[in-house]
């Protein structure tokens, strides 16, 4: 169950790093959750291909995970692993912009893709 423990711990660490240290506020933004809905959809497609038991690219040692695979043959631990990797990257992406506001000036002048009246 080492993978189960490590991946659950990684999620907790990433959330703790945001709440106690980075404080970007990303976890309170709608953008984060809409993005994750889209990412999750594609994660299932990509990871589904990597883990499908009919022709697996990645072979898992079932001693080290929960054995729960959903959907198809994706070990549920992979979602925790993916969440930690992707969310940590997003948090550092946000952090950099907040620390370098001048560098992001170009973004504000370009405005939203869909203009609101």
């Amino acid at each position: 169950m080492e993978y189960t423990v490590a991946s659950a711990l990684a999620v907790l660490v990433v959330i703790a790093v945001e709440l106690l240290w980075l404080k970007t506020g990303l976890l309170r933004k709608l953008t984060f959750y809409v993005s994750w809905a889209i990412i999750l959809f594609f994660m299932v497609l990509v990871d589904g291909w990597l883990t499908k038991l009919s022709a697996p690219i990645v072979l898992y040692n079932e001693q080290e995970n929960s054995g729960i695979r959903f959907p198809w043959d994706i070990p549920v631990e992979d979602y925790l692993f993916g969440f930690a990797l992707i969310t940590l990257t997003m948090l550092l992406w946000e952090r950099w912009a907040q620390r370098h506001p001048d560098d992001e000036a170009s973004r504000r002048t370009t405005g939203p893709l869909i203009r609101r009246r």
């Binding site: 490590a6 072979l59 040692n61 992406w93 560098d103």
Partner: protein, 106 residues
Amino acid sequence: MGVDRFQYLILMGLCLVITLPLEFIFGARVWRRPRRLLAAMGIPLAIFVVWDVIAIARDHWSYNPEYVTGWELPFDLPVEELAFFLVIPICSLLTLEAVRRVLGRD
């Protein structure tokens, strides 16, 4: 045999190709902010490569030789895994920035 050993690498390549319109049609501006991109990716890359090396050493998972190139970095790390830790975060940041643009809010 043949193209099958490139399956994992091709999958990573497809992820990059499929997300490219987010940069150039949705105006995500991730590829065009290389310093910020590096700042975001460096630490997660280091952490997850180490995790991967440990997981391989402790037999949490392994890679099917039929679908990987066999090109390995030190500590038995398949080059495909390095590609994964480069490609997936970029795709995710492209999604985040594209969503931000479409929603028109931070």
